[in-house]
Symmetry: C2
Subunit: 396 residues, 2 copies
């Protein structure tokens, strides 16, 4: 959303005024590593269009200069050389605001995590207090690690609500109504750093394809099931934002024809039958005290029949909504994230059932459904990845 300072990309950025092609190709590799994280030489060749011989020469040069480091790995059963950027001293900060927490991660441009912490926020927290708490946590983390403020490139912030990318403002539809209207400037005032803001599900998707075991997947949908249900999309290898930035509003797919009214004004939306809020409400009836998402996970794993029924019904509705979208965007992988991820197959099985029952057979049978590989770290790692990748000059 905003350009960042820092001498991130060496040399002038105007391709019309540069010297040799070799330099241009070096830069291309450098940018690819920034954008995609540690990559094998074969991935570098595919991703840049350079020949493997050229890649191998440039990597040798860059390694000699200390710009990259290499290590042997196995890739699809073959031995390969993994190339990563070495530490430039620059720090990318990722911040994820949830309904009850804020989580912060500090990372290098080489995608190494330097520090990671989270704190619990009171339910229905005040936004400006939570911003202060997050900013203080960040300051403590920087101090504890002995990092200079100047080495921070920017702070990536994930917020559970739709973001208008034209203005960087949180729109109507955020899980916590207090977030609505918050804009980039307020966030920058709170953190006293340049800020980039994005929706939390978008960042979860980005985290998964840059840090997780789904690294490099080109068409992926990350579905976050919480008090809202949102999806982040990676399409053709890139985070997808559409026309205005309001994408992945999976929670507002109508699934119950004569259902109850949703906070969006429509009726029978997926969120009215499958959000964690609805599940908690159903399962708290008759209970001594209201339960939380951790209880749902615990009871589900203990195979409590009422919990399995509620989770099953919700999962099957979620699967139906995913199927509708999979019929259109044909993702390779659908990942499930959010506080119920610990349920494992008790949640995945009904979702899979809903997908198979509603998707075209060719889509249902070839779409891989899995739990998030990063758990509750996906969004904050994605927020750091946003900073790393957007640090590229000329990137918006």
């Amino acid at each position: 959303m905003t350009a960042t300072s820092g001498p991130l990309v060496r040399g002038a950025r105007n391709p019309g005024s540069q010297g040799a092609l070799r330099h241009l190709n070096q830069e291309r590799l450098f940018e690819f590593l920034l954008a995609n994280g540690p990559s094998t030489q074969a991935e570098l060749a595919r991703g840049t269009g350079l020949s493997t011989a050229t890649v191998s020469n440039i990597v040798r040069d860059m390694a000699a200069k200390g710009v990259v480091a290499t290590s042997p790995v196995n890739s699809s059963g073959r031995r390969a050389l993994l190339v990563r950027l070495t530490d430039t001293g620059d720090i990318a900060v990722g911040v994820d605001f949830g309904r009850r927490h804020v989580r912060i991660v500090l990372a290098t441009l080489g995608y190494d995590v330097l520090a990671e912490e989270s704190i619990v926020l009171p339910l229905g927290y005040d936004v400006s207090e939570s911003l202060t708490a997050a900013s203080e946590l960040l300051d403590r983390m920087l101090e504890a690690g002995g990092f200079e403020r100047q080495s921070v490139l920017a702070v990536g912030v994930g917020i559970p609500g739709p973001i208008d990318r034209r203005t960087g403002t949180v729109l109507q539809g955020a899980i916590l109504p207090e977030w609505v209207g918050v804009n980039l400037r307020e966030l920058e005032d709170a953190f006293r750093f340049p800020v980039m803001v994005d929706n939390d599900a978008n960042l979860g998707a980005l985290g998964e394809v840059t840090w997780g075991e789904n690294r490099g997947v080109r068409n992926l949908m990350f579905v976050k099931i919480g008090s809202g249900i949102g999806a982040g999309l990676i399409l053709n290898g890139q985070p997808y934002y559409g026309y205005l930035g309001i994408t992945g509003e999976l929670g507002h797919t109508p699934v119950a024809e004569h259902g109850i009214i949703c906070r969006c004004g429509n009726r029978g939306c997926l969120e009215t039958v499958a959000s964690t809020t609805v599940m908690i409400e159903s399962l708290s009836r008759g209970a001594e005290k209201p339960i939380g998402t951790a209880d749902i996970v615990r009871h589900g794993l203990a195979r409590d029949p009422a919990t399995l029924r509620i989770v099953g019904d919700a999962g099957s509705a979620i699967g139906q909504a995913i199927a509708n979208i999979a019929n259109i965007i044909n993702p390779e992988i659908v990942l499930i994230g959010g506080p119920l991820a610990g349920l494992g197959d008790a949640l995945l099985d009904p979702i899979q059932h809903g997908i198979l029952q509603n998707a075209l057979p060719a889509i249902g049978e070839t779409t891989t459904l899995r739990m998030s590989s990063l758990g509750d770290r996906a969004e904050s790692l994605g927020a750091a990845a946003l900073v790393i990748q957007s640090s590229l000059a000329g990137h918006d």
Copy 2:
């Protein structure tokens, strides 16, 4: 799907082994013009990342060599210089197979249409006979125009069914079951040219963003309403194919909870309530003889109440399905194509109503809904654009 012959891009294609940067930048402009069609200098600068001064210099050079031609135009109310590739003598062929017709267009790499013809096919036609008819039509068109067979780069073929891009094979789900299993080799044998194959709705979308008044739109959904209902997607400025190539299956969005069984095996799919087949069936009851899509358009324009009711119900269901997808991919423009496009507002109004009632307000209010600007030419022009754009070396 297949690389094509022809000395399309000058010079070696290995960017690691080339000489000067100027040559690289010229090639970049050339490729951009191939991929996007006639463009203003400002669009060229934005699209290539080159400075406007560099673009202007290169364009002057290329115009002096006769590679491009320029003409003044108005762009957003300002005067601008439109740049187009001049005729290289190469020909791209676009073929669109419909349920009742085949349409063929011949075009230059500069997106000039050289010839365009269509013939009617018998209802329920035999695929191999239709391929022979199309191939003979193409031969006649080449002969009539005095074009050598060697100048044909490739034939782009649009087929009304999902295509598995791994194998170039038509999958289950095609409107005409006889198409299922047809593959690239059979098409190449019929045409005796290299062939690229794609779904007709995908090609409609591509046609619209390269030839139509929606040229250059980066996020667009082209919805083709026929005996099937399919959508073609342009996302982030590129045709979108997903994991396997089976995208935009809008007709299989469930819209009627206890609806009738669809040919896909599911129930209550959009196609079971809103395809032209279903409309024709409803409106033919009690009529002296079965009506056709042209009758629906004629009666609708004459404001026949039964026709308006049937079109209205179908449109509103289509709008609901579009809203579900718009909530996820946030398109800038949704275009309606297919044989009912002549209905104009009689069809657009109920679709718009369905979108507004089911999409998030921020999405419903900002998504532009329009009829296709190219009418029944969209798919064949898109097929030719596929050839033009895929002629780029290294493109798949």
